[in-house]
Every structure is written in structure tokens, then in C-alpha cells.
Amino acid sequence: MRRRPIIGTSLAVVAAMSLAACGGGDGGEGSKTLRVTLVNHVWTENIKKALPEFEKQSGLTVEVTQLGEDQLSDQYNVKLNAGASDLDVMMYRPLQEGKQFGKNKYLADLTEKTKSDSAFEFGDFQAGPVQATTYEDKVVGVPIITEQEVLYYRKDLLTKSGFTAPPKTLDELKAQAAKVEADNPGVAGFVARTGKAAAVTQFSSFLFSFGGDFVDGSGKATVNTEQAKQAYAYYGGLLRDHGPENISTDMSWSEAMAIFTQGKAAFYTEANSLYKNATDPTKSKVVETVGFAPFPAGPAGSKPYNIPSWALGVNDNSENKDNAWKFVQWAAGKEQALAQQTAGVPGARASVWANPAATASYPKDLVEANTVSTANGVGHDRPLVVKVAQAREIVGQPIVDAITGKDAAASADTANEAFQKFLDDEAK
């Protein structure tokens, strides 16, 4: 009997406490608190370090929610769907979610704000990225990170096999990969992403360099053209013949990067924005021996993608849009863009790219590769549609089929048919 009152009291206290905790979470009325959702990225780490400066300047309090890529899009899906107003600034992928968000009117129109602010100098942003953050002639986002595909390679292995320079063409890449693999048991000649959806973006540069694309000018699916079939067969074949043993068909960049940075592969094609993983001694064994080269040329030349990977947008349902813009203004402004670029995150401002100090800390060959890629680059790395996730799975199928030794050409025909149907559905 003696225990009862104690239990009763503690239950009551707990209930009261939890109710008190539940009561919170209003904070409306154009508040001084700004809610910013960012992805896990080097950019985010840098911006968080600089935040106190912004808070002091603006008198606002910034609450940062930081999430992994998949969780981020899951959360956007739930919250934006529900018309939530508890999101102010959103970091998003213009090529992945841009059209979908635009179509659903999730993103606020920033056209006036970008144009009216002369210090922000919106004209400084490269044209390609800006196009990607524009929906139906309205500016809905500000690009902050750009990416190009480059070739990561191992200088020591190439020298050992008697090569004096990284491959200039895709044919040379295949030959060098085969030779290095033969000379070094346990080391794969080549590694790259293999996951159906994940590989599409890195495969795109191969596709473009063979002279293909996902969709032609008139909006028809073109993943079964001769060029596309060659590209699928080449990419899949290279991984099948010279890739790691027991190759998984689930690899995204993190798994592929791990194989390369552990010294188990000679060549690796990947986004340049991830280069720090290969040059950071706590993560990589190949810090001393990694080299960077422009994307090798195919029949149509060297045509890597050159895309804005992340942008900042403002939630259209936010009750705090003016303050949200202040944050975008600062985080994508000239000063922060320069700081980011200097810290290894390539941005979208022309003025920063023109500034030699901004890339002084980069490996020299990476800067050269970047320059080449930016000049020749193609502005997309995946089909530009509303339902990107589905489209990636469709056009990615021939990649995994080629890797697992199935008939890539037949698979490309099937994929093209499915993709055409998908495009027709979406056009309705």
C-alpha cells in the first residue's frame, strides 16, 4: 500500500511535464526564429560555423535541422504535403526535386527579391544553374553547390604499369584499366556507382560522351539509340570486366568511394565535389597517390555533366519569408560563396571561379580538370522530369543489366519503351 501514492504522484508529475512539453512549438507571427533545413554536406558544416556571425548581424535565431539525403526528401514529402509552415529555408536538389516542388507550388517566388538586390548580384550566378532553379520563368531557388564529373585515378599504379599520363579517351581508359588490373592482383581496374538509380547521374557523362542523351529535343525517349546502347555496354562492361570482384549492384558513391580510397581500384569516375573524401587522411589510404583528370573523351568528345547539385529555396507556406530571404541572401552571398569555394565546395558564382585565391587549396590537377569540365559540360545529369526518382529507375535498369552480364541492347530497348510511356504519362 505504501507504494501507491509515490507512483501516483510521479505519474502525475510526468503527465504534467509531458503536457507542458507538448504545449510548445508555436513560434508563429513572423518570428525572430528562422527554421532552416539542410543536408549533411561539407557546405552545411561550413555554414554552421559561420552562423553566429549571421545571427549577430540580423538579430535572428537560426534553428538548423540537418538530415541525410533520403531522410531530407522523406521529410519534405511529409511536411510540404501537409502544408506545414514550420519550414522556412530549404536546401534542395534542383534537378531532383526542382520540377516536382515547382509544380506543387512548394517554393516561394523569389524573382523580385533576387532582381531588386544589387549587392547580391544575381547576374553573377552561372546561367546553367540559374536555369535549373527557375520554374515557369520564376526564380524559385538560388544555386549554392555545383558539380562536374571527373576521373579519379591512382598515379602510383599507372606509373607501375608504364603509363605516363591518365587516359584521354574512353578507349584508353579501358586499356589502362585492364593493364593495371592484370599487373596488380586484388586491385580492380575501375570502380563506379552501380545502384540502379544512383548510377544514372555518373553514367550520364558516358552517355553524353558517346553522343547520346536521355531525351531528344522533341521530348522523345532516346535511351535505345545506337550511342546510348554503346554507352550502356561500355559502362556496364567496364565494371563487369574490370570492376571489383563480387560487385554489388547497390553501390552509391559512398560504397564506390570506399573501394577507391582503400586502394582497391585504379580508376573511378565521380563528382568532383566529393574529392575531399579521397584527400582526407582519416578516411583515405590514397591521399598521396590520388590524381584527378578531365573526363575521358568518347566518340562525341569529353562531355561531363556540369550541374547545380544543391540550391536554397523558401517554403511557400512559411510565415517568415522575409527573414528566410535574409538567410538566403547571406548564405549564397558573395562572401560566403568565396569562403565555401576556398574550403573545397565548388559554387555557382562566376566571380568566385574567376578568383584564383578561391581554388588555391585544391589539388592542381583537380582545378585543371574542373576548368575543362566547366567549359564542355552538359547542364543535366538525369532526365529533366517531374518524377525524377521513377525516371532514374527506368533509365538505370540497362546499367545494372549490363553489369550483371545481361544483353544491354535488349534492356535498353525495353527501358526506352517504358521511358517513352512514362514521358507520355507525365505530359498528360
Binding site: M1, R3, R4, I7, L11, V14, A15, M17, S18, A21, C22, G24, G25, D26, G27, G28, T37, V39, N40, H41, V42, E63, V64, T65, Q66, L67, G68, E69, Q71, D74, Q75, N77, V78, K79, N81, A82, G83, A84, S85, D86, S254, E255, M257, A258, Q262, N277, T282, K283, K285
Partner: protein
């Protein structure tokens, strides 16, 4: 009737195998959490390596794990206590009045696929201006805890003799009084069992927290998913994080082993 010697030898070796299979992966996880990433990738250093606390430093400093531990504790605790408040009386009533259909309503919560609940919940709660705190998270975890508690406590109340309550009624107590003063105190072991289990399940819940938590309210299982984020596959950090998530709940389970076992097996022996 002691078992024969060959059987004893067989049984011992079989059990050693079972224990090894169950424990080895967990021990491997803990071992890996003390290795640098370079050592993890070096298969020659499977057992011989210089242990390092660096992964735990990464986990506890870079990501704000202490806050996530606090969040997990708070959500699991609040969801458990609130579910007990709702669930124990309900289970009592359902047991004493054999309300099978009503019980089924509550148990339905255990059956329904969680995916179908997320978007509708968020929609409703955001229109009620309840999002942006622990509310939705706690409510969603209660949804896991409540059926569990009702299920366990119904089994418990079924086994409690009614004579004492009847005696109390004769002594002039009301029905509710008898429940409060007689039945409830007798049920402390059952309540403890139900509470502990609900705490464990809530601590381990992933899907609801994956979508419904934000950076202030993120729980541990979601936080460990962050290591697979944009930076790199940091196996050492991941294993340290996995250890941080799992170790507290395993320790709790060991301390209250008896209750956990009786809760997991509740209802198992009712013909």
C-alpha cells in the same frame, strides 16, 4: 532423472554454438567501434589492432549525441507513462468484462502498417498546430506502446484472482476504489513488465521517428542513419553509433531481465 552423459555433452556443445552465434556479431560490432576505418578495411587486423576511442569522440562531439540520447529517453519515457495511464485501466476493464471486440480495436494498432499513418497524421497535426515539438513523436510512439501494454496487462489481470476485490467491496469500497487500492498495487510487477517492454520498443522504433522527428527531436536510431549521410561510409563511426544506441537498452534489459522475459511471453501460455 538426470540426463545421460552423451546428452549432456551434446547439449553443452549445442548451447555453446547457440550462444556464440547470438553473441559474436554484437561483439564484432563493439570491436569494430574501437578501430580506425583504416584498420576496419584491413582484414589482417581483424583481432590485433590498437584500440582507439576516436570513433566515440566523433560520435559524441560532432553529432550532438547526448541530445539525441536525451530525446530518445524523453520520448520513450513519456510515451510509456502516458500509455500506461491509458492502457492499464483499459486492460483491467477489458479483462474483467471480457470485452474481446474492444480489445481488438486497440490491438488493431499493432497490425496496421505504419506507412499508411505518417502522411495523414502529419496533415492533421500540422493543421492543429501541434507539429514542431515532441507531441507528434510521443503520440506516434504511444501508438506502438499502448497495444503492447493492453495486451500484456490483459493477460496479467486475467490471472489475478477476483476474491480480494470482492472482499474489498464487502468492506465498503467502491469498484473504482477496489481497483485503486487492491488490484493496482497487486499489479505492480505486471505494470513494470509492460512499462519496460513499451520503453524498449519505443526506444528501438525507427519508422515513425524517421519521418516525424526533426533535428531538435531526433531520436537515436534516426541519428545513426546520419552517418550514412553525404560525407562517407564511416564504418568506425557507424559501429560506435550503433553501440551507443544499443548498449543502453541492452543494459536496461539485463537489469530487468525477468520482467522483459515475462512481458515478451505474455499470453503465450493461455490455452
Amino acid at each position: 532423472m538426470t540426463p545421460s552423459k552423451p546428452y549432456r555433452v551434446f547439449r553443452t556443445s549445442a548451447l555453446v554454438l547457440v550462444v556464440f552465434t547470438l553473441m559474436a556479431p554484437l561483439l564484432w560490432m563493439i570491436t569494430a567501434s574501437f578501430k580506425t576505418n583504416v584498420d576496419i578495411y584491413d582484414t589482417a587486423k581483424a583481432f590485433v589492432f590498437s584500440p582507439s576511442l576516436k570513433n566515440y569522440e566523433t560520435v559524441l562531439q560532432q553529432a550532438d549525441y547526448l541530445q539525441f540520447i536525451g530525446n530518445s529517453l524523453w520520448v520513450a519515457f513519456a510515451a510509456t507513462v502516458l500509455s500506461l495511464l491509458l492502457g492499464v485501466p483499459a486492460a483491467y476493464s477489458m479483462s474483467r468484462f471480457t470485452m474481446k471486440r474492444s480489445a481488438l480495436v486497440v490491438l488493431m494498432a499493432r497490425v496496421i502498417p505504419g506507412v499508411s499513418l505518417l502522411v495523414p497524421w502529419y496533415y492533421v497535426f500540422s493543421n492543429l498546430k501541434l507539429v514542431g515539438g515532441f507531441t507528434v513523436l510521443i503520440l506516434s510512439h504511444m501508438f506502438v506502446s499502448l497495444p503492447l501494454i493492453v495486451y500484456i496487462m490483459m493477460g496479467y489481470f486475467d490471472g489475478l484472482p477476483t476474491e480480494l476485490e470482492e472482499a474489498a467491496l464487502v468492506d465498503g469500497l467502491t469498484h473504482i476504489g477496489a481497483f485503486r487500492r487492491i488490484t493496482l498495487p497487486l499489479s505492480v510487477p505486471g505494470v513494470a513488465t509492460a512499462g519496460i517492454l513499451s520503453f524498449i520498443f519505443s526506444w528501438n522504433n525507427f519508422m515513425f521517428a524517421l519521418v516525424l522527428s526533426d533535428s531538435d527531436t531526433k531520436t537515436l536510431p534516426v541519428a545513426i542513419f546520419d552517418f550514412v549521410g553525404y560525407a562517407s561510409i564511416d564504418w568506425g563511426g557507424l559501429m560506435a553509433a550503433a553501440t551507443v544506441v544499443t548498449l543502453p537498452i541492452m543494459l536496461i534489459a539485463l537489469f530487468v531481465q525477468k520482467y522483459v522475459v515475462s512481458g515478451l511471453t505474455a499470453g503465450a501460455t493461455k490455452g
